[in-house]
């Protein structure tokens, strides 16, 4: 049994969604602004709720349970708020320094392994033993990485072998871009289809989808023809 609430969720949702899509019309319009501001407002509200919950659960509750050290976190967190006040904004610099230091500590200690050392290790593979397919793969990857890397040297002048290698590397990069572009397109298409699917299953939702599409684009088209599109669109 579909309830009124479910109907209202689908009706409002599909209408707002097409308001957002109306940007494809190529001109700013009030329906797009409505969708945009709704997302911004409710999204910001949601962020506040979730972040405050995090502070409550990870900070306050643990302090109440006896983890006194976390009081520092709350104090420093309040200090960071002084950033908005021009006279006392220097107070915020202490927590910022601590947070930045910790962040760099966390990132520098791990990415050297996952982004550098292990990546080099993974290229070092058998080139003469194993199945044909594996050999082709290993050779291609090794050569591609070497040529592509040389394209990215900046403090050495490109001459002789290095020049040839880097030119070749650039061509290989473009060949890879084709493959990567296709994967990226697949992703974006998937996002769009997945969304459309959420308004076609179960099938009672279909009329809402088609109706909203026609309604929104109809309104935008009519407003455009009447020349009142800009009048109701907010300034940036």
């Amino acid at each position: 049994m579909t309830t009124l609430i479910e109907y209202s969720i689908v009706a409002v949702g599909s209408f707002l969604a097409f308001c957002m899509f109306s940007t494809l019309y190529g001109k700013g319009n009030p329906l797009y602004s409505l969708a945009e501001e709704s997302y911004l407002g409710f999204g910001t509200g949601l962020s506040i709720v979730m972040n405050v919950t995090y502070i409550w659960k990870t900070g306050i509750l643990n302090i109440m349970a006896g983890d006194w050290v976390l009081i520092f976190a709350v104090v420093l967190g309040i200090m960071i708020l002084f950033r908005v006040n021009s006279t006392y904004s220097y107070i915020s610099r202490i927590p910022i320094a601590i947070v930045l230091g910790a962040q760099f500590g966390l990132s520098l200690r791990t990415i050297i392994f996952s982004g550098f050392i292990q990546q080099i290790q993974s290229v070092i593979q058998p080139l003469f033993s194993g199945g044909t397919q594996m050999l082709i793969y290993n050779w291609t990857i090794a050569l591609c990485v070497l040529f592509m890397l040389t394209f990215f040297f900046y403090t050495t002048e490109f001459e002789g072998l290095l020049k040839t290698s880097s030119t070749f590397g650039e061509y290989l990069l473009y060949a890879s871009f084709g493959a990567i572009f296709a994967q990226t397109f697949m992703g974006r298409l998937g996002l769009f289809i997945g969304f459309m699917q959420s308004y076609t299953v179960p099938s009672w939702e279909k009329p809402f989808l088609v109706g909203s599409l026609l309604l929104v684009f109809g309104i935008v088209y009519a407003m455009d023809k009447a020349g009142i599109l800009e009048k109701f669109t907010p300034e940036d």
Binding site: Q121, I124, F153, Y154, T155, T156, F181
Partner: protein, 264 residues
């Protein structure tokens, strides 16, 4: 599976090389910042494309739009700001209107005043300070998609001759590049991550691929830290090139020395 060549008491197993590389990198950076006066950086072809685009806009009497990314102060933002400074000087020299959309994230708020200063200085250095218009550096929003909306709106209204979008842009980049194309502007972009680069390579008239942006920024900038960075990054790329070649040779000759060394 590779196993460590040796262990050192007090150092956690498998983490020695990571520590060593971090220390070497930090030492190299500080060395080159102090003593790296003579570092020469190759001029990347993208800079010619930028100059040509500005020139063409000037000929057509159309404005240029140049953005430096929507993040806070990151590696890419600094490169983007160096390029912005160059574009601003070109614009001042040729008397072309320059529009710089700012904002895009909360972190970007602290970058904005620096960008203003940079553009102002560029006009000053060209002796055109009376032409500097702070209203041409609109703050669009602290939110990514509101920023994009504003950015797109600016392009649709002003019909620029060139759009130069450098620094960190994410899923918004395609949005901007496509609209820029639709308005007929010469589109020059930079991509900082692989999927974006591939998509932008199709959507733009010219693209600065990955690190080309920071190299271009360092080439244009007087900042020693930026030049030192490029130098150290090159050294590390040479190092990885050497490790890969030597590793491949030795591994296929039956020795796992390099693999084990890297696991140490």
């Amino acid at each position: 599976m590779a196993s460590p060549l040796f262990t050192i008491p007090g150092i956690i197993e498998g983490r020695f090389i990571g520590l060593l590389l971090n220390i070497v990198l930090a030492s190299l950076v500080s060395y080159y910042i102090k003593y790296g006066k003579g570092i020469k950086i190759r001029r990347v072809p993208g800079l010619d494309a930028i100059e040509e685009a500005v020139g063409r806009s000037a000929e057509m009497g159309k404005p240029i739009v140049c953005s430096y990314g929507l993040d806070g102060f990151t590696y890419w933002t600094l490169a983007g700001l160096s390029i912005l400074s160059h574009v601003a000087r070109l614009a001042a020299k040729t008397g072309t209107r320059l529009i710089v959309p700012t904002g895009g994230s909360d972190a970007s708020l602290i970058v904005r005043p620096v960008a203003e200063e940079i553009v102002k200085n560029a006009y000053l250095m060209e002796g055109e300070d009376d032409k500097y218009n702070p209203n041409d550096l609109p703050f669009l929003s602290g939110q990514q998609y509101a920023y994009v909306g504003g950015y797109v709106g600016i392009m649709q209204r002003t019909r620029p001759g060139a759009v130069i979008m450098v620094g960190s842009h994410y899923s918004d980049a395609m949005n901007i590049a496509e609209t820029s194309n639709a308005t007929g502007a010469i589109t020059i972009t930079s991509g900082s991550y692989i999927s974006n680069v591939a998509a932008l390579a199709c959507a733009s008239d010219y693209i600065l691929i990955g690190e080309e942006t920071s190299a271009a920024g360092a080439y244009l900038s007087d900042d020693m830290a930026q030049k030192a960075s490029i130098r150290v990054q090159d050294i590390f790329k040479w190092l990885s090139l050497g490790l890969i070649i030597f590793g491949l040779l030795s591994y296929n000759a039956g020795s796992e020395f390099i693999l084990n060394l890297l696991s140490t």
